[in-house]
Each structure stands twice: as structure tokens, then as C-alpha cells.
Symmetry: D2
Subunit: 295 residues, 4 copies
Amino acid sequence: MKISFIGLGHMGAPMARNLLKAGHALTVFDIVKTNVDGLTALGAVAASSPQACAAQGEIVITMLPSSPHVKAVYLGADSILAGAARGVTLIDCSTIDPHSAREVAAMSLAQGNPMADAPVSGGTGGAEAGTLTFMVGGTHEVFERIAPILKHMGKNIVHCGASGTGQVAKICNNMLLGITMIGVAEAMNLGASLGIDPKVLAGIINTSSGRCWSSDTYNPFPGVMENVPAARGYTGGFGADLMLKDLGLAADAARQAKQSVVMGAAAQQLYQMFSAQGFGGKDFSGIINMYRKAP
Amino acid sequence: MKISFIGLGHMGAPMARNLLKAGHALTVFDIVKTNVDGLTALGAVAASSPQACAAQGEIVITMLPSSPHVKAVYLGADSILAGAARGVTLIDCSTIDPHSAREVAAMSLAQGNPMADAPVSGGTGGAEAGTLTFMVGGTHEVFERIAPILKHMGKNIVHCGASGTGQVAKICNNMLLGITMIGVAEAMNLGASLGIDPKVLAGIINTSSGRCWSSDTYNPFPGVMENVPAARGYTGGFGADLMLKDLGLAADAARQAKQSVVMGAAAQQLYQMFSAQGFGGKDFSGIINMYRKAP
Amino acid sequence: MKISFIGLGHMGAPMARNLLKAGHALTVFDIVKTNVDGLTALGAVAASSPQACAAQGEIVITMLPSSPHVKAVYLGADSILAGAARGVTLIDCSTIDPHSAREVAAMSLAQGNPMADAPVSGGTGGAEAGTLTFMVGGTHEVFERIAPILKHMGKNIVHCGASGTGQVAKICNNMLLGITMIGVAEAMNLGASLGIDPKVLAGIINTSSGRCWSSDTYNPFPGVMENVPAARGYTGGFGADLMLKDLGLAADAARQAKQSVVMGAAAQQLYQMFSAQGFGGKDFSGIINMYRKAP
Amino acid sequence: MKISFIGLGHMGAPMARNLLKAGHALTVFDIVKTNVDGLTALGAVAASSPQACAAQGEIVITMLPSSPHVKAVYLGADSILAGAARGVTLIDCSTIDPHSAREVAAMSLAQGNPMADAPVSGGTGGAEAGTLTFMVGGTHEVFERIAPILKHMGKNIVHCGASGTGQVAKICNNMLLGITMIGVAEAMNLGASLGIDPKVLAGIINTSSGRCWSSDTYNPFPGVMENVPAARGYTGGFGADLMLKDLGLAADAARQAKQSVVMGAAAQQLYQMFSAQGFGGKDFSGIINMYRKAP
């Protein structure tokens, strides 16, 4: 299938590569030339603008850093909506606020282009391996049409409901993740301070009611698990600043929905403190160090 | 084996019954006569004081509401230490602060009675069914000695380490549980407010990084799961005031350990608000209602 | 002087009336006709659009509910910038985020219209009495030019610095106000629960290091002060939803500035909870009731 | 008058000196010999135990670090109650939890010794200068009797109500102080990050509704005020660990009173984090540094 792919950063590039591997014909665009070169070297064709790129595809996929980028690339000058043929389906894999996602999708549809929001989880590792989870918001028809394509980039393709609900699922999950990670950091540090062996404590929590992904799969206490950021100085993984971005989206969405999120907001501010102290580039589980006692 | 059992409340009574069923000879004590009657009707022998009760056992088990009760029953007048023969092992199943647990254990040992703290999780349901988890703090020898007896009341018997670590494990797990439950309440309410189907959202969370026991086993959003308190008006289950007690123990222990627990303390104060508004007797997952919008 | 005034709501209308009283010639605009009628009855002239209104003034003043309104009225179709003569000074008294304020001011200046942000404090009472405080962001020249006019509507006219700093001052002050009010609510409730006479406690706080405006001028505990919302069922005053709006602006600005505001965010979420429970229209000091024990 | 004074630390020593200066005959006790020497050099007489000390006084005054010390010195072996003559009035100036204060007072009264709790504010500076504030809990008669003596050590002698209310006033005021200080730290940092001059911002806050002692008398932002800890590297003043102690007393009292203190608990945990990071000995206003951005 002829696919247009716009946004070839750390996530977008490996996703596009997986589409090439699956035999699709790719036209690509990115404002950074070296990002484009990486794909054309593998057989993709470069386009000169989002408009020109979108004009080549039966499907358009975007992976962009934030809501203003999405609006500019879809709605601005030389934009996707200016280039895409009527009926072409648009898929935005960026993580942005649900309100903007719905706005752009409505404007796309008004012009004859059904659109889905399809933010991902799984990080760059999942993007490389083609094991991402896609949380898709859009009509049943759109979901049916795009699921086989997303399958070339991911393992779990979940239909969350109407337009915007992919973003809702993503930010709700990640807000909860931000909260549970700090909860685990506090519980593990408290236990260690009180004299229990951290591995034993993690073992008990992981078979009890405190059990959560942040404890049983990504434990932030050093020495408890192998192959997690805590085992390698909190490098790699999911950066604290990325978590901070998602908590910001959740806080914004909560405000628009007039929904209180006391713990979500506390988590956001604690990650902000951690980031401001100079650790925004560390894995988000490194926040456990903010709770450590000075030697 | 001849076992002395002191404290026959909602948890203690079914635990004692399971020991009777397993064929042990029980001497029991409780300050509430009807509690005692329930056990003597099944073959236990009533004693007139903790001292008299302890004097009959090769093992003494206690299940009491709080630290002052434990101190009084072990160390006060007519107390266990006044009655227990040298060498008899003492097991306290109450949930109390680790500091007090260690204090009482040290005094018991000084008098020739090895002691273990062995708080439980699993609630009255687990106590009835004999499927409790026991978190045991004490020496290896004590653990080996008491594990077979605890097996008659529980399914998982975990050795957490030295004296007091059973309590540490319990309060760390429950602090984390208190945090994750509010996190799930916020995330589910936020998602529902933003238009995603709560069952779909729970499904996504439960297979993603926000996954936790509070979401996949005990989801607080009504209609998402069956056979949880949310499905029956937040009755039964683990009362908010009991969660509040455990969060208080965690906060105290954190203070003594000079360990910050920002999220743990926030959870404590939110449950306190919920309780003060009149809902301390509801299941702790009912805190989701504090976040609901007025109709 | 010929003044154009746009936005005649609860705050704008009395402000405009004070300018009329001071002898200025007013051209006014509001999308609500009855708001306009209230001013034309006193001698103001109605204009048909922001553009038409701005075209009549030597000075243009706006008082609008939020940032999108400000952008629309200044930059949209039929807008102020389309109508104002080159050199006319623009004053926006709305409370909006500093970033938007700076954006609009920069665009105005680029077109030859110096602009100041001049949000107010003092509420409708201060607007009626002409005793508002104006926090002005703009050049020294602009401040010198507009201060005499603002004096007809307010008592304290403070130059905060360059463009946007008026908004910064307003949201920092109000974030702190939101925090101190909840702090006073907690301290007063705690004291009363512990058996001290609330009036005595307030008296001590007000002469000690806990002293603050929320305690000594606007105490939320009923019976402590007269002539405050707490003395009349939390009616009148500064609505919880208005406080919530300002805390939202502060949280947004903090995010853009990468500045952690743990207490500010907690205050925001508590007011959001209070509002969601149905009390957004009550004075913000009514949040003390969320902490009250059920009878 | 013959006064017994027990506890000659940083606060107690200057208080006792002021009593000597006022012409009272002092018998003193402290477990640290050099503390005692400092007073005997000025004319006080040393006693060998609290009991012996109390036996010499018409009034007994204590200034001790915490509740267990108070209980030991009043109720233990060689204690005040063992030494004080019937009818002698006892004054405890320590800051402890209201519950313990009431307990000790009740036991003293039962033995014929009326007692007052009279915690102070004003720090070592106020103790030296004799300008402390005394918050007195006790009967009207006791207050009348002791006020003239307290006047030799302080400026404001406030009767807060019955036994324990002195402690209640102290911890409620200090909890609010802990909250407002962090609030000011966040507001000042936010403003500075957003480009307003910190002195200008403080000036606006100090004449507006955000006004509080933490801003107008003890501003934590460096360069805003002279003669405050922020002007000298956060040395001197009121140590973060002392604030942490008072917030702990407030949290405890809140738990006993079943009163939610969300902001108070957040403040406690933030000071705990600050202390654990190695800054417990710094003035409490130094917490503003925890919010600073890494260079």
C-alpha cells in the first residue's frame, strides 16, 4: 500500500522502517534532513512538504512531538489537509490532548478524510521491535481499515472508541503509571529504611494488593530487578520529561473535564521538581533518588 | 498442639475456628464474652485472663486492634509474659507499628519467649476461608516452627526477615495500595469524564503500564467488574477506616525513619476527608465517590 | 479623554461607570445588549463591534473572561487592532496567562499600538467603589500614560515591569491566596476539633507567624469575623470557580516555566473537588466545609 | 519568688537568665552539666534531680525537647511530681502534643499541683531578648498566677483556654506557617521564572490578598529582604527540622482529632524531603532551594 509518513524522530523512524520491511511503498517527510536520509537509504521517497507527502499516500501517518505541531502539519500552510486526496485515511500517532485530537479529526472529516488518533505505548524499544501498543480512537470503519497496517508496527491494536479516546486511554494510563511509580518509590524506600530487604519487600508486594507494573516489571529500587533502568543508573527507558509531558496533558484534560486529580497533580509536580533539579533526561523511575537520604 | 488464642474479633474468631478444625486444642481469651462463647461452643476452652490463657499453650497467638492493646496484653498486669512458660513461642498477628512490634518482641525474648510479628492480609473472607497471607518477622528458627501452624489459617506464609519486618511489609504494601486505589479512582473518573467507556479503559490499563491490583482485581468504578465492592454499593471489603489506620501507621513509621512519603501522606489525608464526610465504614474503594461530580 | 471600553460584565460595567463619572467620553461594546444598555443609559455611546469601538478611542480598555476572548477581540475579525488608530494605547484588564498577554502585546506594538496588561484585584466591590488594585505590565512610558486613567477606577496602580508582568503578579498572588486559604481552613478546623475557641485561635494566629490575609481579613471559620463570606453562608465574595480559574492559569504558567508548584497544584485540585461537589458558585473560603465532619 | 527551672538548652538557658535578671531565686536542673554551669555562674543554685529541683520552688518551669522527656521529668523516677510541694504551680514551656500535655496536667492536678502548658514562639532571639510569645493552656486562676512571671521572659502572654490549648494554638499556628512558607517559596520562584522582579512581586503580594508573615516579614527569596535567613545563606532562624517536628505534632493531633490536613501533610513531607537531602539544620525558609532549577 502507498503510505505517507510524516515525523521521523526517535519513534517515527523505526515505525516507518517496519512499514518498509512489510513491503509498503513509503513517501516520507521530516523537517530534519538527516532523519529523512535514514529512510530514503532504505527505499522511501522524500517529499518536500507535508502537503506533497500526503498527496502520495492512500494512508497518511503522523508521529509528532506535540499538539501545536499536529495542528500545523494537518491544518497549516502546505499541510496534510491541503494535499491528501478525498477519502484518504489519516492516522495521528502523536500523544496530544484529546480536545485537540478531536478538533483536528473533525476538520479532517469535514474535508472528506476520516481520521484516527492512535497514540502508542512501548517506547523506542517497542517501536524498533514492532511490538508497540496502539490505542485507537475513531469509527469502527476507520479502525477496521487501519488495524492491519498498524499491525506491522505493533502487537496490540486496541479500539478505544470514538475520536479522541485513543488519547484519553493513553493519558489516563500514563497518569496512573506516574502515580504508581512514585508510590512504589516511596514504599520501597520506606521499607528499606525500616530494615526489610528490598528484594523480599518487592516479592511480597508483587504477590499482594500493592502489586503493580511499576513494582513487578519496572521496579525503581536498585538491585531488585535486572534489565530495568534501576539496574543501569536510570539510563534508557522512559524519560522523566516525557512522563512530565503526559502528566501535563492529563492535568489539562482534567481541567477541561472539571475533574479533580489530586494524586495526578502531585505526581506531575514531583516529576517537575525532579526535572528542574537536572534529571529530566533520566528514566522516570529515577525519581526514587529524590527521596534518598543524603549520605 | 496446645494453642492459646487471644483476641476473637472479626479476624481472630475465624482464624481460631480454622485452628480448631485442624485438630488443635485451643484455650481462648477475649474481653467480649460473646466472642468467647462462639469458640467454646466449638470446643475451645475459655481462660479468665491473657495470663491464664497463655499458661495453657505451647504456642500463643494474638490478634488485637492496635499497639496499646498489644502492649497491654503482652506486658501489662495478668499479661501473656506473666503466664507463658519459658520457651513458648509467641505470634502477634495484629497490624501495629514496627517499632512497638520490635519492642515487645525484645522484651519477650529477654524473658525466654521467642516472638514473631505476623500481620495478615486477605480480610475476613481470607480468614474464613483459611487463605490469608501471613507476613512474618522473626528469626529463621521461629519461622520454621510457626509456619506449619499458620498454614492452617493461611495460604501464603512469607518470611520477611528479622523481628518487625512483617509489620514493615504490611504497612509498605498497604500504603502503596492506598495510593494506587486513589490513582485508579482518579484515572477512571478522568477517562469517563473525557468520554471513554470505563470497561474499555480498564481493559487497556490492565494490559498496560498502569496495571495494578486496584484496577485489575478491585476496580472502584461501578460497572467495570462483578463481585467487587463497587458492584454492591461499596459494602463489605476493606473499610476506609481500616485503610486509614494502616496509612497512619505508615506515616508514623516514615516519620521515625525520616523518610518522605508525599503520596502516602496525601492518600492518608484524602481517606481522612472521606471518613470525616461520613464514609469510614464503606469499602476503601468508595473513595472514588469523593471525586464524583454533583448531579 | 475619549475612551473605548470593551467587556461590560460584572467587573467591566462598574469600571466603565467610574470612568463616566470622572468625565471621560466613553464608547462601549459588549456582546450582551443589556450590558451595553446599562452604560448608554448613563451617557456612553454604543459601538457595533470591537473594531468600531476601538476606532473612537484615544485609549482602549478591555475586560474579558479568558485568553481566547482576548485573542479574538484584539486579533480576530472586526477586532481592536483592525480599528484602533496608530499610537492609541491599549489596556487589557482581563486575567489571562502571561504568555498570551505578551503575544497580544507584541502584535499590538508591531502595529503601532503600545499595550499594557493590567489585571485587577478587589472584586466587584472594589470595581464599584473605584478602589481596585491594578497590576500593570508594560513600558515605563505606557505606565505613565495610563496610570492617571486607571486612578479613576482604582486606588493602587502598581507598575510590575515589562509586558506580561501584571499577569505574573496577579497569578502568583492568587496562587498564594488559594494556598493560604486552605491552610487557614485546615488550621482553624484542626484547632476547633482539638478544643480551642476558634476566635481565640484566630487572634493568636493573627499576631503570630501564621498571620495572613486569609486569616486576619477573610477568616473562613464561621463566627470568627463579621462582614466576611463565612458570616453569610459563603455567598458573595470571590467565587471558588474564579479561584479555580486563576490556579489553572498559575499551573499552566508553572508548566511553561518548568517550575514545580506542589502546594499550588494541590490547592487547585482541592478547589476542583469542591467545585465538582456543587459549590463552585460559593465564595472560595467555603472550601472549609469540605473539611467538616459529617454530623 | 523561688522558681525551679528544668531544661537549660538553647531556649531554656536564656529564659532562665531573664528570670535571674528579674530578681527571682532560681534552682536549676539539666542533664548536661555545662548547661547548668552557665546558670550557676549567674547565681542560680544547681539541683541533683528534677525531684530535688522541684522541691525548692514555689513555681516549677520546664523547657524540654519532646513529649517523652516531659513525661519522664514530670512522672518518672526522681520526677517533679515526686518533689513539688502540694499547691506549687507547674508550667511546661515545651512544645508537645496536646494529648500528652493534658495527660500530664491531669496527673499533676490529681496530686494537688495545678499545671499550665505554655509553649512559646519567637525562637532563641526572642528568648534572649525576653520578647517571647507564651500560649498558655490552663485555668483562669493558673493563668493569673503565672502571667506576671512569664512577663519576665516574654512580651505577649496569651490565655488560649483550658489545659492543652496552648499546645493546640502553637501547632495550629506553626502548621499554617509551614504551609504559607512553602506557598511563598512556590509563588516567588514562579514569579521570578516568569520574569517579574522578585522585590516588586513581594511588594505586590505584601499589599494584596497573598500577604502573610512568610512573605512580608521572613521572605525566603534571596535579595528581597535584609536581616532574614535568606540574606545569610539560610543560617540562623528556625531550623527545618524544628518545623518538621511541629508539623509532625500537627499531623498526629489531626489523626487523633480525625481531621484531614491535606496541605499540612504535604508541607510535612516536603520538609522531610528537604531534611533528608541534608538540609535539616538550615532555616526552614531554605526549602525554597528545593524548588530551584539546576544551573
